[in-house]
């Protein structure tokens, strides 16, 4: 972790190890969640039912990691009574694990929806739009995890600043779906499913932004979850 948090400088070597352990576990969880999202997007874009099945049935691994991380964090709170930056490390990791778990759920949701999409042209509707949306969401998730690993506030804010684009893309895709639905009412059911996938991708972006906010909290000590992007940029850049 970044030098200014000095996680490895406690008098108790075991305490150093415990903090390092939750930090590496949450990064590992982030890696797993990222892989799940990538597979979900690929399954959606390539209409790969086997891959969709795999994503839909392996979310339990993410859930197990969240439970394990929370257990270790509560142990540290009970046994070490962390203060100041150590306390912020533990609190932000608990919250990050919750966000990562929700991202895992969104990936699982996409997997299930892809499996249920009818064969034929339904599966190819809005393929390039969802692909683009998904790539943007994945890049925010990747940027958020990267900013956390490096404790980089500027990178976290820059990453979070990309989220409004995803929101716009999702809005555009929704408008497009509505037009299609009106022209061809028979497609409503499958178009709704495609739209739910897009919605899941958009939510992945939102959870990734939460992780960026945890990085600001961890390094700067201020809770910025309910500030606007411009206020955060003004204060911390």
């Amino acid at each position: 972790m970044d030098d200014n948090l000095h996680l490895n400088q406690h008098t108790s070597q075991k305490y150093n190890e415990e903090l390092e352990d939750i930090r590496s576990r949450v990064l590992e969880m982030g890696g797993l969640v990222e892989a799940q999202c990538r597979k979900a997007l690929k399954a959606l874009v390539k209409s790969d039912i086997d891959l969709a099945e795999e994503v839909a049935t392996s979310d339990y691994k993410v859930n197990d990691m969240e439970v394990a991380i929370n257990a270790r964090c509560t142990d540290i709170l009970a046994l070490r009574q962390p203060a100041a930056s150590d306390l912020r490390v533990v609190v932000s990791i608990i919250r990050m694990a919750a966000d990562l778990e929700r991202i895992g759920d969104e990936a699982e949701k996409i997997g299930r929806l892809v499996k249920s999409l009818e064969k034929g042209r339904d599966r190819t509707t809005f393929r390039s739009e969802t692909k683009h949306l998904g790539k943007s969401a994945l890049s925010i998730l990747n940027g958020a995890l990267d900013a956390f690993a490096r404790m980089d506030v500027a990178a976290a804010i820059a990453t979070a600043a990309k989220d409004p684009e995803i929101d716009d893309e999702f809005e555009a895709l929704t408008r497009l779906s509505i037009t299609h639905m009106m022209e061809e009412p028979a497609s409503v059911k499958s178009l709704l499913k495609v739209n739910w996938c897009a919605r899941a991708l958009e939510r992945i972006g939102d959870h990734a932004v939460n992780i960026c906010e945890e990085v600001v909290y961890l390094v700067k000590g201020s809770d910025v979850r309910h500030l606007s992007l411009s206020e955060i940029q003004e204060r911390y850049l």
Binding site: A84, D163, G221, H226, L229
Partner: protein, 290 residues
């Protein structure tokens, strides 16, 4: 943030956002960080320097203790916190090689002034020590001793009243009311410490100084004393030196961190324990080697 309607929450007040630690300062910074002065100071110390022979134990410390507040002083062994505490009621006077320079005032009155009666001063600024030290007398006499030498009671009934009230305020009355004539030294450690607190408050002090009052007690006795401190602050001003940081965090409103005779940082207890601004404070409360 994230969505376009993030501003729907409206402006968030600064206190909800918390202090910003971007003005984090490093170990080379030796000015006291934070706000050592308060508006309603009960005691105020300015530029206090304390020497044991030619060794300087306190370096230019300025600090206020606000009326009816609990101020905790923390820091590693030898940082000067106890020395500073003892200079607040001139307990250092009894150490021949100790010399106190600077200005310490109680209600604006110089306690080191030439006309200051130290016996009277110590009645106004009472003290509770690390190890319970009841007199080898009965429980009743332990509490009655101070009021008697200060002539606070004019009859046996008045004295009984003072003893009972003091023991009640120290939440010891129910446990000792039937054994008031037993020796105070026969009580348990936690009870002895509460007896010492009763003895200190029997003379109606204005300030109570506590030097690690719980370090010799078990967790339950400690919790009772902490509960007591919370009640006592309604009536008295309290300064407490403690090695238990959780205790400082629990009982005090303001916390001062001392290091090598210097007052490094002082501020609201919550801020000190969640977002200390000085690196030395951060290192100490998080258990890092500096």
């Amino acid at each position: 943030m994230s969505t376009a309607d993030a501003n729907a929450h409206g402006a968030v007040p600064d206190e909800a956002v918390g202090l910003d630690v971007q003005d984090h300062v490093d170990v080379a910074h030796y000015e006291t960080i934070g706000e050592p002065y308060v508006d309603n100071a009960k005691m105020s110390a300015r530029n206090v320097n304390v020497y044991y022979a030619d060794k300087q134990a306190i370096m230019d410390v300025s600090l206020d203790i606000g009326e009816n507040e609990v101020l905790s002083m923390i820091g590693p062994s030898g940082c000067g916190k106890s020395t500073f505490l003892r200079s607040l009621n001139r307990m250092n006077d009894i150490i021949p090689i100790c010399e106190v320079k600077g200005d310490i005032r109680l209600d604006g009155e110089d306690i080191y002034g030439s006309d200051q009666d130290t016996v009277l001063l110590r009645a106004r600024v009472g003290m509770v020590f690390q190890k319970p030290n009841p007199f080898p007398k009965t429980i009743y006499e332990n509490v009655a001793y101070g009021p008697r030498i200060h002539g606070l009671a004019h009859s046996k009934a008045e004295m009984d009243e003072i003893v009972e009230t003091s023991l009640r305020r120290a939440s010891l009355w129910d446990e000792v009311k039937d054994v008031l004539e037993q020796p105070g030294t026969g009580l348990s450690g936690g009870q002895q410490q509460r007896l010492c607190i009763a003895r200190a408050i029997a003379v109606s002090p204005e300030v109570i100084l506590m030097d690690e009052p719980c370090s010799a007690l078990d967790p339950i006795a400690t919790a009772r004393i902490e509960e007591l401190i919370d009640e006592l602050k309604e009536r008295f001003t309290i300064a407490i030196v403690t090695h238990s940081m959780q205790q400082a965090a629990r009982v005090s409103q303001r916390t001062a961190y001392f290091h090598l005779g210097k007052l490094i940082e002082v501020g609201d207890t919550k801020q000190i324990f969640t977002m200390p601004r000085h690196e030395l404070t951060e290192n100490y409360i998080t258990g890092r080697f500096g």
